[in-house]
Symmetry: none
Subunit: 220 residues, 4 copies
DNA sequence: AATGAATGAGAGTTCATTCAT
DNA sequence: TATGAATGAACTCTCATTCAT
């Protein structure tokens, strides 16, 4: 894994989506928000494909013309929602975490930060997984975010590796990328198609934390 | 993770898909195969949604009427292909592997078996990822297969745990499920949206193997 | 051709279009003019259909509401522009030209007057040709103007015919109408879809003049 | 006017329109014809823009899907009709006419051939004039046909010019092009927006013939 | 068993015009 | 008088599926 590849900062990624400006007037903002809220609900309920632009306009009590004056199309509505739901990922701040003193606790914190997103994010998971495989731009967007997390992980990883805390033969780059993929999977699929109990979810999270811990650190 | 849940054997999973009978007559079999082959190629090339029933019929040099006499719809064509592409997963035979003598090598073998599928499987990955999020039956199918792998993993895991080779505090069930999810993710997304070199792919595989190894086994 | 049909004077034709009053206030007049200027430019650039009311309002730095307070619709904007562009046709003054002394030169002058319109006129040709076939009122408007030219032509024609300068068998009415149609065609389509050089254009004009000359006058 | 420009043969012009193949099966041919007939009627009645694809399908007692399986869009229906309506122009055969013995009669024949088209042609004039200004391909198509007539005219013209029958100062190329434009105008607009009587039409035609005659030939 | 013409619901999008502020 | 958000009818085109032959 080459850490010298184009380092894309987060705002650039968002900017690349070319989302419409948020209107300044209060009334317009309300309509726009009504559309977004209605869309998020329908996306969660029925999924992305099964939701039409008409459905969203109806649910938002707005005409279809208004819908198209605020958003270029259904995809852009999703993109706007997704961008909003993902902004807090910026705050991951992995590089500032101290992994040396209490590694397992530090990893727990990191994993929690990565997995605990706001309600909106979870309501969009369904739509996201429908669009991802068909939409190269969204796929790339997801990839960029994963790269961002990867790079932060790498900085912290190098520090603990230099301190001799990790397995001697560790391939830090490759391992970090695998962990990123694992977190991505966990984020989108951990509860599984079957509903899981809270207790079970916590067992899984703990296992995930331990798995990452043992992947990197030598000591039990 | 509750290992006493409905233990679904593989043939049952396949049967649940209610696939059309394979015709006995040679000529019919040929037509059916032509449709399947054409569909697999188009699914790989354009993806599932972008491939129409007409496209498949044309590519198979078969009329659209014939297409619909062999398959109820496009989805069923995919299901048939996917069922075929996944049959070899039965042969995983994790339970028969000896993880005690050379654990890392045993894990490497397991991972390789899990990741190295036939050509057909890889050509269906795109279509699979398009359908999975929209099709509860396919999602469930995928879940059942993951359960199957999980259960095999659990049998082998209990053995090595009983021998005291694993971390003492190990939550075997939860960890195995996480590993299954990781393998699923690796299977479908490891190369990532950007093309990766062969060397990089191997580094990732090795990191994956080590990660699983350290997740379970105490010794370096 | 019946020269006794309704003889429509030019101001009446314009009045029939029911154009909006020109506002008296200077600021209003400016807005109105901005709309007209912007519309003329866009009509020339993109054509009539491809120009939306929004486009015009934007280009005129005026709200769409203001646009509709000055003009009933896009069509009326065009009508206003077209009426303005065509006012100078009044000055044709064919009846005052002396066709007896130097007929060819007199015809040249007439043709030039007919073909040389102001810049605005030429910028509206595209829009005009889009609207004419769909808009009976505009078609009638065009017809009235052609009738006007025809009538002037007829007056001059009768004079030279009385002097015995024309072909003896000449059907003056019918021939004048054909000439009017020819001038109409020349006005709107002479350069043709392919770009023509200045020299070629002049050859065509000269040929047109000679053609009209020979159609009427006996002598070489 | 350069007579050495690309000489485009008629079949090439038609081929350039890329029209759909005429179906071979009788039933399909009937449906296709029903669509074409219905379209021609509606185009004449309401014009091109005011006729929708749905209107045509309805009038042809055919589903909209069927409409789109036979034609890519409304424009292609028009193109197909227009190509059919214009095929007979091939038979103009101006080059074979003897203009020397009885020039006026020969011109009369030519003009009649040029103006007397089949019923279909006249029913499409309205649609044609709506599309021409907006559709560069159709404009070019019309231009190519005019060029074709022009070239035939030129061959005949050179012959009579060589025999010394024409005006000595005649610019044959430019004059022929003007005549072509005049014929084009006559073809599409001669009756004018007001209905003309049969007698008036004949007077106009005769004037047109005389006009062309005098434009070229010296003798009365 | 095979054909492929026919169907039509439904998706996405535009834009002239209105009207509350 | 000016604004511009809001409207929604209208239009084009697609494609899974049926069914008469």
């Amino acid at each position: 894994m080459d850490q010298h590849r184009t380092e894309v900062a987060f705002p650039d990624i968002l900017a690349a989506l070319d989302l419409p400006r948020v209107p300044q007037q209060a009334r317009s903002r309300q309509k726009r928000d009504a559309i977004l809220t209605a869309a998020a609900e329908l996306f969660e309920e029925r999924g992305y494909d099964a939701t039409t632009a008409d459905d969203i306009a109806d649910a938002a009590s707005v005409s279809i013309g208004t819908f198209y004056s605020y958003f270029r199309n259904k995809r852009q509505v999703f993109l706007t929602l997704y961008a909003a739901s993902i902004e807090d990922i910026l705050e991951l701040g992995i590089t500032e975490i101290d992994f040396a003193t209490n590694p397992r606790q530090a990893i727990r914190e990191t994993v929690m930060r990565a997995l605990q997103r706001d309600k909106l994010f979870y309501s969009l998971r369904q739509a996201w997984s429908e669009l991802l495989p068909r939409d190269p731009e969204i796929a790339n967007y997801n990839y960029q975010i994963n790269r961002l997390i990867y790079q932060q992980m790498l900085v912290a990883g190098r520090r603990v590796k230099a301190q001799g805390l990790t397995w001697p033969e560790l391939d830090l780059e490759a391992t970090c990328w695998i962990i990123v993929l694992l977190l991505d999977q966990a984020l989108h699929n951990m509860p599984g198609p079957k509903e899981t109990s809270r207790a079970e979810l916590e067992r899984h999270q703990e296992a995930l934390i331990n798995l990452i811990y043992h992947a990197l650190f030598r000591t039990a």
